[in-house]
Amino acid sequence: MTQIEEVNYEQYRHLVSERAFTGETMLLNMGPQHPSTHGVLRLLLELDGEVIVNAVPDIGFLHTGVEKNMEAKTYLKAEVMSDRLDYMNNLGNNLAYCMAVEKLVELDVPPRAQALRVILVELQRIASHLVWIGTFGLDLAAMSVFLYAFREREQILDIFELCSGQRMMTTFIRPGGLWRDVPVEFETAVRNFLKIFPKRVDEYEALLTKNPLFLDRLLGIGKLDAATALQHGVTGPMLRASGVKWDLRKARPYMGYEQYDFDIPVRTEGDTYARYLVRVQEFRESMKIIEQALNKLPMGPVRSDNRKFVPPPRSEIGVSMEALIHHFKLWTEGFSAPKGSVYSAVESPRGELGVYLEGDGGPKPHRVHWRTPSFSNLSVVPKLVKGHLVADLVAILASTDIVLGDIDR
């Protein structure tokens, strides 16, 4: 028989105030099975009535050992793990990982693949923001937005299925390019989406942006100033809502982002409402990028023809002995990367998503580390919620757009 361990309050002494021990304030668990913690996050709350005195996030419930697992696989095979970190940004994770591998082994990516990567990750950004706007509304009791947002998201996921055969865990971006070229229906599907989506964003805005109940819950709640944000390494829309114009797509362009004309939405208020406005504006900016990339999509191959790193096409395997040898070598032993370490980062829907990769000369990475935006963004939440009501905590947490798969890895 297992004994139920008695709760030992002493272990919380350094986390909460003295008043919790005299019984003046109350300790309360929120989560890990609470729908508005957006996953399995546990928050230990110290409450004075309904006012939050302290909030302590407790993470790790979704720990899957992705980083360690990747170190046990070859560079090619480790990629499937990247899909499963931040499950709202699968293609973005693929891109971050592939860029790191390409940097490590100095692999080139053809222009068509670069443009397609941009289109796909921008679609992914929209899909991720759609989930966010849906759950944000849901947390603030605006249920219908959730249903509408998921309908549009389904359209994007269908485009992913069209390209890769999978709605979420696509593994479509591969080191050296893409898995395959996109099918012919791709362009029409994306254009259809671009045609209807602006109207949809207007509809979400009609429901939310000036809704008095919505404004009451958001204005002035969870104010984050730029200095604190930078201290905590906050990135993404959360940072931009606090008045810092920092977006890796502009600051350190990759995959040819410098060719596209788009704006970085910035707000200076730093409150929950500002974060909402920034993300809604990002819908429109992403659409601009997709449209431009689609208009000048170059023709040509979609994967590098460097046979040392990229498996040969199917048509060569049956006719060329050399291709067959490369094929066998790459799918069994994999390619070796030189000694050395690289860091490469992309702007994910949540902020700076970076991959640190260390090669030791063998076919498996010696160390893989993910710098995930949700982790840093969550670290600032305890500061934001102090003095607010429990109901405001829900709004603040929703506005940070954390994904627990991204935090726990």
Binding site: K73, K77, V80, Q166, A206, N211, R314, W331
Partner: protein
């Protein structure tokens, strides 16, 4: 900003929901109505055969080596012209995929040098216990095109010597 502005905004929002209520529903009434899948869909695997009924799989284990989830187990045995399963020297005498491990990444399909293993359209996989999640070769193999084309079968000696065929790049 007038007194009635908030009210107007609420009505504007309600107008949107009202408009949506008249829209056609986008949901599928699963399981009565199934969602069609795209041609590239990666569902349950199928082991393919040639038109002459021989198995494409040559037991090379490349799919097992490429599988990131270690879901595949292959054991190969020798072909003879008396008892031929597949072209070339060897065939898979055991072929098992553990569907609980599989993550449907499609690497096995990419790695297979003969296009033997293909991820099909079936996404309805459910089991009552872990043991039945292991799909054996019999469960995965395509049915034979006609009765006399079963494997193993006796073939003319010296015809089926080439194990890796010429293939085209996937189109869809």
């Amino acid at each position: 900003m007038g007194v009635f502005d908030p009210l107007l905004e609420l009505l504007r929002g309600l107008g949107t929901t009202f408009k949506m209520a008249l829209d056609k529903p986008v949901t599928y009434q699963y399981p009565e109505e199934k969602r069609p899948v795209r041609p590239r869909f990666r569902g349950r695997h199928v082991l393919k055969r040639y038109e002459n009924g021989l198995e494409k799989c040559i037991g090379c284990s490349l799919c097992a080596a490429a599988c990131p989830a270690d879901a595949i187990f292959v054991e190969a045995s020798e072909n003879t012209d008396e008892k031929r399963f597949s072209p070339g020297e060897r065939y898979a005498s055991t072929y098992e995929i553990n569907m609980l491990r599989c993550i449907y990444c499609g690497f096995c399909e990419d790695a297979c040098p003969t296009e033997a293993i293909v991820l099909g359209d079936n996404y309805e996989l459910s089991f009552y216990d872990r043991r039945s999640a292991i799909y054996t070769k019999e469960m995965l193999l395509e049915p034979v095109p006609s009765v006399e084309m079963t494997t193993p079968r006796k073939v003319e000696p010296g015809v089926f010597t080439r194990s890796v065929p010429e293939m085209k790049d996937p189109q869809d």
